[in-house]
Amino acid sequence: MLRGDIDTILDWVKQGSRVLDLGCGDGELLAALTKQKGVSGLGLDIDASNLIAAIDKGLCVVQQNMEDGLSNFNAKSFDVVIIAFSLQVLTRPHNVLERVVDIGNEAIVSFPNFGHWRSRLSLLLSGRMPKTKALPYSWFDTPNIHFCTVADFEQLCDQLEIKIIERKTSDSGHILAKLWPNLFAKTASYRIKRT
């Protein structure tokens, strides 16, 4: 698996929760949560082919841009709001983060850690924006416009007065990723809530 956040999210979400998955894509995560955790889920996505794929999995999905303010969702109307691997495609990720901690009792956010040593080394040695197996795009033609590192994200949460309940990184079995996640974690997942 290239991402390594799915198992963490499956582990964190409690049985029978009401889940809103923002940027649900083809619904793979939401379908797994429905099957394994019996959640009542709603997915949001803007892409028609993603919607069709998610509908085909029996999911409820709404075609909506998560950056439109999400004003149609009431405060605390979900147990968990998930942004899995789509923070980096948002134009104004901080605005969305502020909304999700209002809509959900808590939120789960996962993203690729751009502070990983391979990205740093790649930039250092080649002098060009890194490409990886998980993120193979060229800098000028990529959906990922807002990469951040573990340290960046945590600083933003602090600034927005969002509390980090728990952090889990991929390669977390690895002692280095535990000690220095900003350098050694490929993927970071967070449980956050409004302080």
Binding site: A48, L51, I52, I55, V61, Q63, N72, F73
Partner: protein, 362 residues
């Protein structure tokens, strides 16, 4: 099918008896669990799918959607498609003969509403031995009937599918309908609605009404693509015959075709039924409260270029459903077809409805 149990209409009037014509496609299963009701829009009728004979130029109005292997798959579902009362295609309407006078109803036919249609559809279901709809489906005015079903008889349906509809018309929408009605009323052959007795036909008024209506069902982009500024005949040269734009010719053709097949009183009744529909009235004006009564799972679809029943009207329904904690799926199909998008074949639209219908038990 003739129903002789009186129908108490919302207007306070009573239809002592009435005929409801309908078509069915597919087979009702032994459990009776695969019945699907299809509700038609303003100018539709019971002939939703297939051909009646080889001589038919066109199949039913929703043949793209209904049939074997199609999104509403008649191999799986037993599809019931009635013609609503007040119509002009066989069910009792203003052009039918009134039992009490022995003459065509004409102006005396009572105003019917979406609620009245739902009542007649429920009676039809009972007559057909159906006690539950696997799904109630409709577009535009048909979508309003599906919505009405979902809150009037929630336990009757497990799925509700609404295309290109709205919880109620906007002022602009009512205004377009009013222009259409005034076009009909201004035809000297209208005779206050009693043209059948006078043996006239308000064809000019009807054609004009349809031209206005048809125009609002199309998008500006599609009209530009299709007609541009092309001339059908003549030119702007001084000696040539009078120029006629393609779009003029098209609208005139649509108008006269429609005037030839549709009843003017029916058109007036249908547009008024549209105007009067107000889903929020089930919740004292609050749409969320109204839809809170529903128990079905919903599919709501809008079409990006539809300005008559714009996507944000569908979003109102979706938001109210979300706020009341209902199961809902919503898609806005990228389309240049305007309001007519729900009737036309489109890859995403067909794939999406097919995928969603998998969850409807059969």
């Amino acid at each position: 099918m003739c129903f002789d149990e009186p129908l108490f209409l919302r207007s306070g009037e009573v239809l002592e008896e009435y005929t409801l014509v309908y078509e069915t496609y597919g087979q009702l299963n032994a459990e009776g669990s695969n019945a699907v009701l299809v509700c038609h829009a303003l100018s539709g009728n019971h002939h939703a799918a297939g051909y009646h004979s080889e001589a038919d130029a066109k199949p039913g109005w929703w043949d793209t959607m209904i049939g074997p292997g199609k999104p509403i798959d008649t191999n799986r579902f037993y599809v019931v498609s009635p013609n609503n009362i007040g119509g002009c295609d066989g069910s009792t309407g203003p052009s039918s003969i009134s039992q009490s006078t022995g003459k065509p109803w004409g102006s005396l036919f009572p105003q019917v509403t979406v609620e009245d249609w739902v009542e007649t559809q429920k009676r039809l279901a009972e007559y057909l031995g159906i006690s539950h709809w696997a799904a109630v489906i409709g577009g535009s005015l048909g979508g309003m009937q599906a919505l009405e079903w979902s809150v009037r008889y929630p336990s009757w349906l497990s799925h509700c599918v609404v295309f290109a509809a709205a919880p109620g018309l906007t002022a602009q929408n009512i205004a377009f309908n009013e222009i259409a009605r005034q076009a009909i009323f201004s035809d000297p052959q209208w005779m206050q609605g009693d043209y059948a007795l006078a043996e006239t036909v308000p064809e000019k008024g009807m054609a004009l009404a349809r031209m206005v209506g048809h125009l609002t069902y199309m998008s500006a982009d599609k009209m530009s693509d299709r007609f541009g500024r092309e001339l059908r005949q003549g030119s702007f040269e001084p000696d040539d015959e009078e120029p006629i734009f393609q779009v003029e010719s098209y609208l005139r053709y649509q108008g006269s075709q429609f005037a030839g097949r549709f009843d003017a009183n029916t058109y007036v009744i249908m547009t008024r039924a549209l105007d009067r529909f107000d889903l929020a009235s089930h919740g004292q004006g609050n749409l969320t409260e109204a839809l809170g009564k529903a128990t079905a799972e919903f599919l709501i679809v809008s079409f990006s270029s539809d300005w008559r029943f714009a996507p944000n009207r569908s979003r109102e329904i979706v938001d109210a459903l979300l706020a009341s904690g209902k199961k809902v799926t919503y898609a806005d199909i990228e389309s240049d077809a305007g309001h007519d998008g729900f009737l036309l074949e489109d890859d995403d639209y067909m794939a999406l409805v097919s995928a969603w219908m998998k969850r409807v038990a059969s």
